[in-house]
Subunit: 595 residues, 2 copies
């Protein structure tokens, strides 16, 4: 039997009167015990009041008789008074081997197995969370694809016609985590998105429990408003007057960047929406050779063509050279092309470089072009009073991509496209689908966001971020950013003159990206030349492979331009400390010393 | 103090030896207690073995001395042996009013507050789940945007500079759910995506705990393989030989449909990727006037232009008339345009109509055009032996959109784009970003999926679906589909001759969409004409507004073509029963009788 212990409220007694009050409001008033219609305060308009009054008189008998259909429902009815309060569920030893998905809610008598199953899942997950932060666990337990496909240790990935027991489902859940990668581990440095934020995690759990869709206020009232308020706050931080403008959360930085190109085109050549690219002259986009590939991808997808995405030269730190931009604009114009759009990157993927936005904005103004700032990675530095100067001029951008799921530690996916001009997202993407966006709803339909998006259904990405902001405050994000940048400074200072290390670019990194070659002892006296390059190119992949096979840590590597493979260390993980940086360096040296 | 009770395994003892065995494998072997490197079986290659051997000799002292840095870490070290087993966490009465996000992991001594906080969140969520299935709760507690923005009952949506206590965060979570919409409620019929599947929910909780990214096998090995196997299974069910082909999970049906247009263009005019739309003749797309607006949106976004998306006429049931397609193709060719792509909808949004795929496929073959089947809503009928004939010919499509997050009850987001020809997704979208997709990794890099996508980071949408398939089997999905269609047949039979009801189209619906006008008594003797139309147009919005204000149930309405507002009932919710259908009809009549 499931044990339920009714308690007054699941939060403990509090000394803060205000909190107590709103906590109390969570419980429906006593009248709600008579049926779903009893909560009169939801009926705020005259019409609603009339109907609710009518229902209170006429419906409760009918409603109740419908309730009597089964023993289960009778039981519910009898227990309702207790159960209107929050119920505490306690795990017990349930035998899941004879239980199946069909035994869970909405099945009759499904409440007990449902609660026990969910609590068992939570047990697995909380254990995983705990171990994620424990440095004595491995970052990953590496296996090759063919090994996992063969069904390692009974972990069978194949799907079957017949259902598995819940016991097997629980085993599958454990195995899934066991053979995965702990992206929240203090020694996971492999991507721009790392770390496991507990508030963000709680936010995601709630989001998936609410399981709704951002397209209308109708079915996501709270989340739609949270999105609006959060986007406004982000626009204020960018520096747009009164936080005015528009925006959306999209499924990632690449899609956010794609939005920026679409709306730039719509701004200057709105007829393309109806007539296609043939209605416009040959349009050209500009972006740094160090920028994210999504700008070129957008150019290809949206019908500009990759060759009309002109790559800009950078200085040795990976920053766009403004004179090169202007020269290339002039050259394009001379060929009869129309320069439309410049992407300035705030925090490049590999070097973490910040393009000089003000200089680029001057050029965009001079040539009447759209300025987009891709701050997917570096936009979060706006939260830091110390580091935000690196984005000086961002308030002059027409649009900004900013991914809280990178430097701010928000769980994937959470990316915002922010637009200075109101209405342009709607104008660009609206198709006025009558079945979804009815103009004759009872509420202010300007809150329906769906017609601004290229998506129809849209996942709720806002709640975890909103909740983290509430829980940490703006200052909490600032501290996180400052701390990660301090750690990268520590790494930079540690290795810049260390034997066996060679920095990919000189000077302190602008973001947390520290790019370096590790040169094994056997190569340290080799003369520069093709042979050394070829050997050095293989060092990082070899060390990385050993790291992964042993599961000790993970860090990225790549070539860039004519530079052979080097390590790119990035820090966005709030669990990482100096000792983890030390560990990484010792690990590289230990694994690489005999190469 | 947190209570921890170590137990051998969190699943109860089982009689199935196989299950026990894989369960046992979840615990690291005893040697793992000496440090992260001890699990030798992860080091499967010679190189790995060599390194691991080296580490076992040299690293444990160093590793341990690093552990001694703090009391907390010492404690961890001492307790490790017990803690390698799964730990049971028990909720206790924690005072969250003096706890903040900064007190949670990775903070020192953060484990206890973290576990207590997460368990408190789970308490809130499990109570929500329980109430979701309880018909005595309301579907929603409606408020207007301005009411929620004003901070109703202390629920403050504004973000602040300073952090809030965890107690306030818990209150915010409760309020977020309180003012939201219970999309899993048995009487929520408002969207194509309804219902709260417990296995899917567990899958989402795990997904967000794993918090990783689909772009490489490197950091999502298990999920990448699950995606491959599941897509293959779906292609088998479509009927492509041996399940060959390609595919991806995308952030929704609109994006999946956009993919289909992109790859069709790439197939016939690959030079557009490089040179833009000016390299191709005027290309024309065809889709039903009843099809989803995402085809037109894709046409606008990708540079074809909305006017080159030709809408096809339908019969009175909303199915494309093949002769109309052929006539419009011929007409386009006569104008010198190039017919490129036909979208056949399997399950339209409003009528649930299935276009005749075989007839359309004949025409596509004749004119050498790409055939896409948008089965976002109706694709799931392929799981039903009884209903899959409605998609006859789907195996002749070049690409198929299929959203498990609609008719299969998988939590949002879960949409697949499936492609018959292998390699074309990669060819279309690849940009070969060196920093992410290194060719010199130690594993088979054909498993890296990122370069096929228009996204860079990609959320893990597969796990919940894979887990549901495991838990229900193919037969479980079949039963779900069949049951929903039976319920809609029940509704159709109930109202087709009922007084006050008028069907929007005649005959049994092909999908679960039942479209009807409710005609209030005062209008039943009105002659047909503009006045009646105008009045009837207002009936559904008024009833819907009252439903929402009272929170009793939710169902969609919309106009379509020259038809005034009508109700579109859809059933995808596994919690719905005949009694809920009865309730809906009684509710419409009760609310509408005085209009």
């Amino acid at each position: 039997m499931m044990m339920m212990a009714a308690s007054a409220s699941s939060s403990s007694s509090s000394s803060v009167a205000e909190v107590d009050q709103s906590s109390a409001n969570l419980r429906p008033p006593a009248s709600a015990c008579d049926g779903w219609y009893g909560v009169a305060h939801g009926c705020t308009r005259k019409l609603g009041m009339k109907i609710c009054g009518f229902l209170q008189k006429n419906n409760s008998l009918e409603e109740k008789s419908r309730m009597m259909g089964s023993f289960r429902e009778k039981e519910q009815s009898h227990n309702r008074e207790n159960r209107e309060k929050e119920t505490r569920f306690t795990r017990n030893e349930t035998d899941f081997s004879n239980l199946f998905a069909r035994d869970l809610l909405p099945a009759k008598n499904g409440e007990e197995p449902t609660m026990q199953f969910l609590l068992e899942i939570v047990e697995i997950l909380t254990n995983y969370v705990r171990k994620t932060f424990d440095r004595s666990t491995k970052v990953l337990d590496f296996h090759h694809p063919h090994q996992l496909l063969e069904g390692i240790e009974g972990f069978n990935l194949e799907l079957c016609d017949q259902p598995e027991s819940l016991e097997q489902i629980l085993v599958d859940c454990r195995d899934t985590l066991k053979y995965g990668v702990r992206t929240g581990h203090p020694r996971f440095f492999n991507q721009l998105s790392t770390g496991l934020d507990i508030i963000g995690l709680a936010g995601e759990w709630l989001t998936s429990t609410a399981n709704t869709n951002m397209f209308t206020y109708e079915i996501a009232p709270v989340f739609v408003l949270m999105e609006q308020l959060t986007l406004k706050k982000m626009r204020e931080i960018i520096g747009w007057p009164n936080g005015e403008g528009d925006g959306l959360f999209s499924p990632g930085g690449a899609i956010s960047n794609m939005y920026s190109v679409m709306i730039a085109r719509y701004k200057y050549f709105p007829e393309v929406k109806t007539k296609g690219m043939s209605a416009a002259p040959r349009l050209v986009l500009f972006t740094s050779e160090h920028s994210h590939y999504s700008i070129a991808k957008a150019g290809a997808a949206l019908g500009f063509g990759k060759e009309n995405v002109i790559l800009l030269s950078t200085d040795q730190r990976g920053r766009v050279i403004p004179a090169d931009l202007e020269a290339k604009i002039i050259s394009a114009k001379q060929k009869g092309y129309v320069p439309l759009f410049v992407n300035a990157t705030a925090g490049t993927t590999v070097y973490g470089a910040f393009d000089p936005i003000n200089d680029i904005a001057d050029i965009c103004e001079k040539y009447n072009m759209w300025l987009h700032v891709d701050g997917a990675w570096g936009g979060s530095l706006l939260m830091s009073r110390k580091h935000r100067y690196k984005l000086n001029g961002v308030e002059r951008a027409n649009s900004v991509t900013w991914n809280p799921h990178k430097m701010m530690g928000v769980p994937l996916q959470c990316s915002a496209i922010l637009v200075r001009e109101k209405g342009i997202l709607q104008g660009c993407n609206s198709m006025c689908a009558g079945y979804l966006f009815q103009p004759d709803k009872q509420y202010d339909v300007t809150y329906d966001t769906g017609d601004k998006a290229i998506q129809c259904g849209r996942h709720v990405d806002i709640f975890k971020f909103w909740l983290m902001w509430k829980a940490k405050g703006t200052v909490g994000f600032e501290q996180h950013v400052d701390r990660c940048l301090e750690l990268s400074e520590y790494l930079y200072n540690k290795i810049k003159n260390r034997e066996g290390y060679q920095m990919v670019f000189q000077g302190e990194p602008q973001h947390t990206n520290v790019c370096f070659w590790y040169v094994p002892p056997s190569m340290r006296n080799m003369p520069d030349g093709e042979e050394r390059r070829e050997r050095l190119h293989k060092v990082a992949p070899k060390i990385k492979a050993m790291m992964m096979e042993c599961g000790s840590t993970m860090v990225g590597y790549q070539p860039q331009g004519d530079k052979v493979n080097f390590f790119r260390m990035v820090i966005s993980n709030h669990a990482a400390t100096k000792s983890d940086i030390d560990f990484l360096i010792e690990e590289i040296e230990r694994l690489g010393q005999d190469l």
